[in-house]
Amino acid sequence: MSSIGEYSEKVMDHFMNPRNVGEIEDAAVGTVGNAKCGDIMRMYLDIKDGIIQDAKFKTFGCGAAVATSSMATELVKGKTIEEALQVTNRAVMEALDGLPPVKVHCSLLAEEAIHAALWDYAEKEHISIPGLKKPVEDIEELE
């Protein structure tokens, strides 16, 4: 069960006024989650000189899924690749003043979306990013 009252003000703010919704052409892109479970996140990262210049997202999912996507894009913007790798689900959750327990998987999805976009970048640029693992296809494996 979920009730709107369980969401923090920050989650509600990022859901009601999501930052960085959209797409970036020719950018690195990662898609995670699946429609069967009700959450899909797609993250676009525009990376130049090792720095994330811009980040955008599109998400199909609940309030928490949208809010974590929005916060994740905010957290990685302007960061180096190495710094972006440190944006964990915990960091996303903390930045949102927490999530209801049943919604924690949404923050995992956000972390995974960042990794998936970075993986795409590494593949396109034929580089290897230390510490980056191939993203899992199904987020349920993470739980």
């Binding site: 979920s2 009700g38 998400t59 949208v66």
Partner: protein, 396 residues
């Protein structure tokens, strides 16, 4: 107070002012135990008796066939478990449908763990149980068929008379969970050959926490709540006199006005359905177009998820519900939407709006407009929608 458009009357209804007024004296002035013998308690005893008469009349039943319970779930549990216990020598097979309320489904699962066998009938795309499927599934050892009168999510009304007749032809009892239908749809237990029926007060303007079980006097099953001699020894526990009085008052009000309310609701419901389908592309109506509760509309909007939709509707003062996983508390969307054949991702994007006789056309106009706006906004954020759009333009 900010604007409130309450379109979740299948979840619960507002207690009618006349109902509350009828209940109040039994909290204060006439607090006597309806089972006590002194004159002071007589007022309570009489009130419970009169309430039983009102409810019996509404169902075409005898007064002695109505038992007051703590609600629909209790009545469902009683009907299934007590029948299983009473008839286990005859057989251990029960038939129900895949779209029942959890009060039925989870009770059936409990019975399965305790040596009973349950067949869950499929429904068609409109949510209808097909009588021939029941005919095929029923066996010599089938003791009970339990099919809901009308579905709580998609509103589809079942061919109860036909299903009951099949059960009886094969010597099985017939129970119906009529929680959504009672006092919304005319029900005559004899005409429809119903042996047991569950109903709940708060679905038609009555109080929460009080329900009934109709139990045909020829059906011999035991008690579910053991204890005192209340309800002719079949349902122990001190009578919830205010609740019972409120239940009966709500029945009285609803039945006096049923046809008129249904006509008004149906008109608004169809206006809502036509409006949404016309205004929002890639949308489907769930449930039967005409064989449905007069107050129920249920849609699936492709490419979006239900909880997001509910939160944004709430921000606009509109209360609705959804069958998405995020609102069901599990990873799977509503079992009802899956049973009518919706793929998971479409079931996640469902919205149920349930009206009352007090709902106005202005409220529906505002709702149609708001839903259209919100769906468009969520689609503009949805990767599924952008994929769909680019696929479309490739095909062109």
């Amino acid at each position: 107070m900010e604007k409130l458009i309450y379109l979740d009357n299948a979840a619960t209804t507002a207690t009618r002012p006349q109902v509350l007024e009828a209940m109040l004296p039994y909290f204060g002035e006439y607090y006597g135990n309806a089972a006590s013998i002194y004159r002071f308690a007589g007022k309570s005893t009489k009130a419970v008796d009169e309430a039983r008469r009102t409810v019996a009349d509404a169902l075409g039943a005898k007064k002695g066939e109505i038992y007051f319970t703590g609600g629909g779930s209790e009545s469902d549990n009683w009907a299934l478990k007590a029948t299983a216990f009473a008839k286990k020598e005859k057989g251990k097979h029960i038939i129900t449908s895949k779209i029942e309320h959890h009060a039925i489904l989870h009770t059936c699962q409990f019975l399965e763990k305790n040596g009973f066998e349950v067949t869950y009938l499929d429904v068609d795309g409109n949510g209808l149980v097909q009588p021939e499927k029941l005919e095929q599934a029923i066996r010599e050892d089938t003791i009970l068929v339990s099919i809901m009168f009308a579905n709580n999510e998609i509103g589809t009304i079942q061919p109860i008379a036909e299903l009951a007749r099949i059960a009886h032809k094969h010597g099985a009892l017939f129970h119906t969970d009529a929680v959504q239908a009672f006092c919304h749809v005319p029900i005559d237990v004899n005409e429809l050959e119903i042996d047991m029926l569950s109903a709940s007060g708060h679905k038609f303007g009555g109080p929460k926490g009080v329900g009934i079980m109709y139990l045909r006097d020829t059906v011999k099953i035991g008690s579910f709540i053991h204890g005192g001699a209340q309800e002719r020894g079949k349902r122990a526990g001190t009578h919830n006199t205010p609740g019972i009085v409120g239940f009966a008052k709500a029945v009285e009000l609803a039945t006096a006005n049923m046809e008129e309310s249904a006509r008004k609701e149906t008109e608004l419901r169809d206006y809502l359905i036509d409006g949404i389908l016309a205004k929002v592309p890639y949308t489907r109506l769930n449930g039967h177009r005409t064989k449905r509760l007069s107050n129920n509309a249920n849609f699936s909007f492709r490419f979006i998820e239900g909880e997001s939709l509910l939160i944004l509707l709430d921000q606009h003062g509109i209360c609705g519900s959804s069958g998405s996983a995020c609102t069901s508390g599990s990873l799977d969307p509503s079992h009802v939407l899956l049973a009518i054949g919706l793929p998971h991702e479409i079931a996640h994007g469902s919205l149920r709006l349930t009206l009352s006789a007090e709902t106005t056309k202005e409220e529906i106009d505002y709702t149609i407009e708001t839903v259209a706006k919100i769906v468009e906004r969520l689609r503009s954020m949805s990767p599924l929608y952008s994929d769909f759009r680019s696929q479309q333009s490739e095909e062109k």
